[in-house]
Symmetry: C2
Subunit: 166 residues, 2 copies
Amino acid sequence: MAESATGGETLLFLTDEQLRQGIEAMFFAYRGFTADPDRILDGKDYGRAHHRAVHFIHRSPGTTVSNLLAILGVTKQSLNRVLRRLIEDDLVRSDKGKVDQRERHLFLTPKGQALERELSDAQRARMRAAYRAAGPQAVVGFRQVLEAMMDPEMRRQYNRLREAGP
Amino acid sequence: MAESATGGETLLFLTDEQLRQGIEAMFFAYRGFTADPDRILDGKDYGRAHHRAVHFIHRSPGTTVSNLLAILGVTKQSLNRVLRRLIEDDLVRSDKGKVDQRERHLFLTPKGQALERELSDAQRARMRAAYRAAGPQAVVGFRQVLEAMMDPEMRRQYNRLREAGP
DNA sequence: GAATTTACGTCAGCCTTGTTGACATTCCAA
DNA sequence: TTGGAATGTCAACAAGGCTGACGTAAATTC
């Protein structure tokens, strides 16, 4: 950060110290990243696992269980426990597939959408504040580094979602 | 990303979609971030909690238990379970304080240093690769956004470590 | 010097969320 | 028709959070 006023193409300064600061930044930032949803979920007797499921079902309405398994990277038993609860509580609807009837297609109910909105509003507010504070150029770099940090399989999932999205 | 070739000072483009992509990038990147250490720890019968303790003891040799508690943000019972194990296994040494004898000062033993190195080598390698792929300018932005995302208290901890560090 | 506070350790018990393994059902596809 | 895929579910277990209660030693305060 010291001698790098040449416009961005300074030589790499990847000392162990710099890298370690990046590692710690990830650690502390992730805490902030999850703090607001965690607080909200606490009161409602749900956990992070429910948040993740709700997020990705919102993101890809009609997604199947195996799809979700691939994205979340947990076992089906673990996911199933979460899904069962969400379905019982009428946050998620599970529809038997029409073409392949083994598949279950997952959707948020209005109640589920309400929770999703509450959680993502909080999370987006923090992200928005961070983006504003850091500026547009920083945001581009942020995204580039994060994408480069993913496992290839996760990057595939991530980009697939991006393509489907906007 | 489309109409923003003006050099970095484009107006804010903080659509919900953009923010959500940032959220998902954090999610997937954090998975990558922890993947390598997790794999290593798996074989050794330790977990992420041990990694965190070892990391910050390495970072601040001689730190006290309450210091570590503040950084990690867990209860003393939870931390104690981890520390007890690390001390039993001769990865960490706990010295009674000289000026204040109630405090315990924590240090890595040679064995603990070896584990720390193995873990952080792996984690730094990934970070280094991501930094290289994204470029120096992106790295600056990455760090700026992460820092802005932290809770104020965590940012204090983070900066305190940075000052003490290099 | 006595009382209080601080730093730490520990026991007991609970919860969430991850894991493995085994098994049943349904149903597509070769 | 048969094998394998997609899903659900039961049981059991572990890591790592949490709360609450209690104990001890040392520092600090009155």
